[in-house]
């Protein structure tokens, strides 16, 4: 490369840079030597400085590059190429996956003295127009330099809230996320307590709760196609892809929203001067409830001030929401379970009124009346198929207790309602499920019915089944047996019958003091026994009352076959009644009764020892037969022989499984059953 004469259009500085560049690849030492000389000749030349920086960068000399960068930042504040370089360095800092280029730039940044780093971050952030970008950078700066938080944190919060309201987005938006998850905790941690006005704190807390709840209860939307390894049930629940528009995927991930929320509550409490126990929210539900209760009682005795009420309000509300969510995610898993609550159950759980066993029946009052009187804490009996039933029940009960606590005083209730309004809780469909269950639990069946009827039209499949079940249960408790049976028969129609009579493991008939509730899973094999039992109980009520008729007894007989011989006491009662009556007319008998024991018993009834009961149970009524046949001798004998033969044939005839028989019975004779009730 000629060094004199040509290229005279270049200024001296430019020429020096050109000479240096010329050696960059062939002789890096010479390149450096040229630049050292150039810097002494033109110390104010940005061009030369920047070239020196570039050459050190290319040679991967981190320390030298950093020191050049530092010099330039000090002396050349207005050079565009310098700021471009700074931007790319800061961009590299914020990148999640470090490739070789960005990790190199990060190292350069790390080699600069910290006060210069801080300067860099702040001056670049100042120049950025886009709020989101600016926020990201300031967040980075505040995380690296905690002493900036006090000055910049509050301004940043304000900036985000203005931007959010301007953009009119839904609750789960990028600004809110950054505010709630990243900046607010930082601001609260770094500011001294009692320096932020409590009004502000509570507004922030409300917005945070709103955000987290909305985030957690987002419906499962999988935007990306499932890969094979995602198909496994455990993995499917943990790979909910969440994308908050405006944020990168990694920024959208919130791994422990409940934990975050509780920690936030803790921070707010510290700032508001609350006395709090630090790790309450990691302990058991029992402990948490006791803690809350003791807090409430303590304050009550001392006189509840505004501040203390706020503490109760927020602590209780957040606890309530968490219990509520945990509970509802077992109720409507499809919509609400996901990353944050994997239920391990395949069907929603349902809370239902249990059936009292007749053994406990000390009083002669009808069951319905008893239900109305028994308002003490009902007991909830879970089905064995629900493996984490104690958790579920505890969540439900804790939520219930919290709800009651929040309504225990006028002021509290008012404030809670205000919160609900602020959060537009009426749009939270999952609350509805809880309220239904709560009414059921409290025995307020009429209210439960009203609630269910609101929701049932819009629901489908499993949820619809669940609601129907609860509806029929409530009708039963209210004494409206015909409606109860109507609804339950509709439900049964869509259930799958088991292929054989399985050993029904759980008892839907529960013994014990007070009201008994059941927690079942909406699996066909669990619901069916309940439905049958409901039918039996409804029919039984009427069948043994003054309005009884043989039809009802007959229906009962058919239904008792389902879990034969479990309810043989009832069977005995029926037989006794028939014997007392002396006659029994039920022409559907041979269509649906196949159980040997029952057939034997009826055979016995026909005999002398059995009581010579007049049985009109053939398919065609004996009356009709007797009208048909001409009166001849031995009329009855023919009939009797028919009867025996039919009995024997019936025994051999059992073709389909009993549950199917019952299913058929309920389907075909539905109207008849309802008419009789």
């Amino acid at each position: 490369m000629a060094s004199s004469g040509d290229n005279s259009v270049l200024s001296d500085a430019e020429w020096l840079v050109m000479r240096a560049r010329g050696y960059a690849k062939t002789d890096p030492w010479a390149a450096k030597a040229w630049l050292i000389t150039a810097r002494t000749l033109f110390p104010g030349s940005f061009l030369i400085q920047f070239e020196s920086y570039q050459i050190e960068k290319a040679a991967k000399n981190i320390k030298d590059a950093a020191s050049h960068l530092e010099d330039m930042l000090k002396n050349f504040q207005n050079e565009a190429s310098l700021w471009n370089e700074v931007q790319s360095i800061l961009g590299a800092l914020q990148k999640e996956t470090a490739d070789s280029q960005s990790s190199f730039l990060t190292e350069i940044f790390a080699a600069i003295p910290t006060h210069v780093q801080c300067q860099m971050l702040l001056s670049v952030a100042d120049k950025i127009g886009d709020v989101l970008e600016r926020c990201r950078l300031l967040l980075l700066a505040m995380k690296k330099f905690p002493n900036l938080v006090v000055e910049h944190g509050l301004k940043l919060i304000e900036m985000l809230s203005i931007e959010e309201s301007r953009a009119r987005l839904s609750v789960v938006n990028c600004y809110r996320k950054l505010f709630v998850c990243d900046i607010l905790p930082l601001v609260l941690q770094k500011n001294r307590p009692m320096t932020i006005p409590t009004i502000q704190l509570f507004i922030w807390l409300q917005r945070a709760v709103e955000f987290y709840i909305s985030f957690i209860t987002q419906p499962n939307t999988m935007d990306t196609p499932l890969s094979p390894d995602m198909m496994s049930p455990t993995k499917a629940l943990s790979k909910k892809i969440i994308n908050i528009p405006g944020l990168l995927e990694r920024e959208s991930q919130i791994l422990d929203p409940w934990g975050n929320l509780f920690r936030l509550l803790q921070l707010v409490g510290t700032h508001a001067g609350w006395e709090m126990e630090p790790d309450v929210f990691t302990k058991s539900r029992d402990y948490q409830w006791q803690y809350l209760l003791s807090l409430y009682n303590r304050y009550k005795t001392g006189g509840i001030t505004d501040e203390k009420r706020k503490q109760i309000l927020y602590t209780c509300t957040i606890l309530f929401l968490q219990c509520l969510y945990s509970y509802v995610s077992h109720v409507d898993a499809d919509n609400f379970a996901g990353v944050f609550s994997s239920t391990g159950l395949t069907a929603p759980v349902v809370l239902l009124e249990g059936f009292r066993s007749d053994n406990d029946d000390t009083s002669s009052q009808p069951q319905v009346k008893r239900l109305r009187q028994d308002r003490s804490q009902p007991n909830i009996q879970p089905s064995a198929s629900i493996h984490n039933s104690s958790n579920i029940i505890q969540n439900f009960l804790t939520a219930f207790k919290c709800f009651e606590l929040l309504h225990s005083s006028d002021e509290l209730r008012r404030e809670f309602i205000t919160l609900c309004q602020n959060w537009q809780m009426e749009t939270w469909s999952w609350m509805g499920h809880f309220q239904t269950d709560m009414f059921l639990y409290q025995g307020l069946h009429q209210k439960a019915v009203a609630q269910i009827q609101n929701f049932i039209l819009a629901s489908k499949e499993k949820m619809k089944t669940r609601m129907s079940l609860q509806l029929s249960c409530c009708f039963y408790c209210l004494g409206n047996f015909s409606k109860a049976c109507e609804v339950v028969m509709d439900t049964i129609e869509f259930l799958e019958m088991p292929s054989e009579i399985e050993e029904v493991k759980d008892n839907v008939v529960v013994s014990g003091q007070g009201r008994q509730l059941l927690l079942l899973q909406c699996l066909d094999n669990e619901i069916l026994p309940y439905c049958i039992q409901l039918l039996i109980t409804c029919i039984k009520e009427k069948a043994f009352s003054s309005l009884s008729n043989d039809m009802l007894l007959g229906h009962l007989l058919i239904l008792l076959q389902y879990d034969w011989p479990k309810q043989d006491e009832l069977f005995n009662d029926i037989i006794k009644k028939i014997r007392t009556q002396g006659s029994f007319t039920y022409n559907l008998f041979f269509h649906y009764v196949y159980c040997i024991d029952i057939l034997e018993e009826f055979a016995l009834l026909d005999t002398q020892e059995g009581g010579r009961v007049n049985l009109d149970i053939m398919s065609v009524s004996t009356k009709a037969i007797s009208q048909q046949r001409t009166v001849t001798r031995g009329l009855n004998k023919g009939v009797k022989e028919d009867f025996r033969a039919t009995l024997e044939k019936q025994v051999q005839n059992l073709g389909e499984p009993i549950p199917n028989v019952i299913h058929r019975f309920l389907k075909d004779e539905r109207d008849l059953i309802i008419k009789n009730l």
């Binding site: 060094s3 004199s4 200024s11 500085a13 030492w29 010479a30 000389t37 110390p43």
Partner: protein
């Protein structure tokens, strides 16, 4: 007193006599020298040294120790130097090696230096450095020692010497003077005075790793009342070396009968070229360092007189190597020279004698083709302005 001591010593056999002698010498030097009796103790010390260390008794022939005993002697000397007080070390050294050197004492000195190098005895090496500074690195005794060391450590084995490699951490002052000395030993005037590659490698590594070496001597000038600077010599290497190595490359590229030798020669030439480039950078960085240390430096590292010497020698070299004005290597050489001048000037290391700069400029103008960088540098020097960081230059618009 003195006579008793001498008598006592004479009765002893080696190594006891030497050991005792050394102890006595230390005792003598440790005493603060009183104005009353400087001469006598000095004279005594000298006598002891002559007889019991150098084993030169008057009237008797030089006693040479068998190798094992000589080794013992050297070890004792090293230990003694290590343990002596700071102020006494050099006095002792001078007492032994100060008087006019003869072959024996020169040889002993060389061996002592070798031992000191191998056991990393910085006390001895520092003393040798000061001695070299006092004598002046270009003078015969120093040059002889230097030559021996180069032969032993750079020529004898192919692999770089580990001892040399860590030398700057043992005695930077020694290294500084050593570099000064080798630049005089192998001035790179022509193809016969090229420094051995191993040596050049060491020097390059030293300077590039530690930019404080070159000014070490000057920084301590106030302490020792003398100093040496390797800068002129290194500059000469970079300037003249550019021409010489190019010349070598050209020679090696010409067709000859023996390809193998040609390849070797070419490789050598290329290696030299590379080393010189790296050395040049190290030189500039060492000069840069001085800018921050300017208060500690009481002398200039390079002067315009040095520059004149170099430029004159460059003329000769160019003539001998047949360099033409448009040759790239000539301009490279001038540019390297310019860079050293510029950086040393800005760092405050350049001493400008009155009128000499103009002389330099006129030689450049008359004897060399126009070189833009050189012109820029000379203009800068004449302008006399000190570097001002705020000076704005027009921005570069590509």
């Amino acid at each position: 007193m003195a006579a008793n001591l001498m008598k006592r010593l004479r009765h002893m056999e080696f190594p006891d006599c030497t050991r005792e002698a050394l102890q006595q010498l230390i005792a003598i030097f440790n005493q603060d020298s009183l104005p009353g009796q400087p001469n006598s103790s000095e004279a005594l010390a000298l006598e002891i040294c002559q007889e019991f260390i150098l084993f030169k008794t008057k009237g008797k022939p030089q006693k040479t120790l068998p190798p094992i005993e000589e080794l013992q002697l050297l070890q004792m000397l090293c230990t003694c130097f290590n343990e002596a007080q700071q102020k006494s070390k050099y006095q002792l050294f001078i007492a032994i090696f100060g008087p006019r050197a003869d072959n024996y004492s020169s040889a002993l000195l060389t061996k002592l230096v070798s031992m000191a190098l191998s056991i990393s005895c910085s006390s001895v090496l520092d003393c040798v450095a000061i001695w070299a500074q006092e004598r002046s690195c270009g003078k015969r005794p120093v040059q002889q020692l230097t030559l021996r060391l180069v032969e032993d450590y750079c020529l004898l084995f192919i692999e770089p010497s580990v001892v040399f490699h860590k030398l700057p951490s043992i005695s930077p002052l020694f290294v500084c003077n050593f570099i000064t000395s080798v630049t005089m030993l192998y001035p790179l005037h022509d193809t016969r005075s090229i420094p051995p590659i191993g040596l050049l490698q060491h020097v390059t590594d030293w300077i590039n790793t530690d930019c404080t070496l070159c000014c070490e001597s000057v920084r301590q000038a106030r302490i020792h009342n003398n100093y040496s600077s390797p800068i002129p010599g290194l500059t000469a290497w970079c300037v003249r070396g550019t021409i010489i190595t190019k010349y070598l490359q050209n020679m090696a590229s010409q067709p000859t009968s023996d390809n193998k030798i040609q390849t070797i020669e070419l490789e050598k030439a290329l290696k030299l070229t590379g080393l010189l480039s790296k050395l040049h950078l190290g030189l500039l960085q060492s000069l840069q360092f001085c800018q921050t240390n300017i208060n500690n430096m009481s002398q200039y590292l390079i002067t315009v007189m040095n520059m004149l010497d170099i430029i004159h020698s460059l003329i000769t070299v160019c003539r001998n190597c047949g360099v033409k004005p448009e040759d790239e290597c000539l301009h490279n050489s001038l540019e390297r020279f310019s860079q050293v001048i510029q950086v040393s000037a800005v760092s405050g290391c350049l001493g400008v004698e009155t009128g000499k700069l103009r002389e330099f400029q006129s030689i450049v103008f008359n004897s060399f083709p126009h070189n833009r960088l050189l012109q820029m540098v000379l203009a800068f020097l004449s302008g006399g302005q000190q570097p001002n960081r705020i000076t704005q230059q027009p921005p570069f618009r590509p």
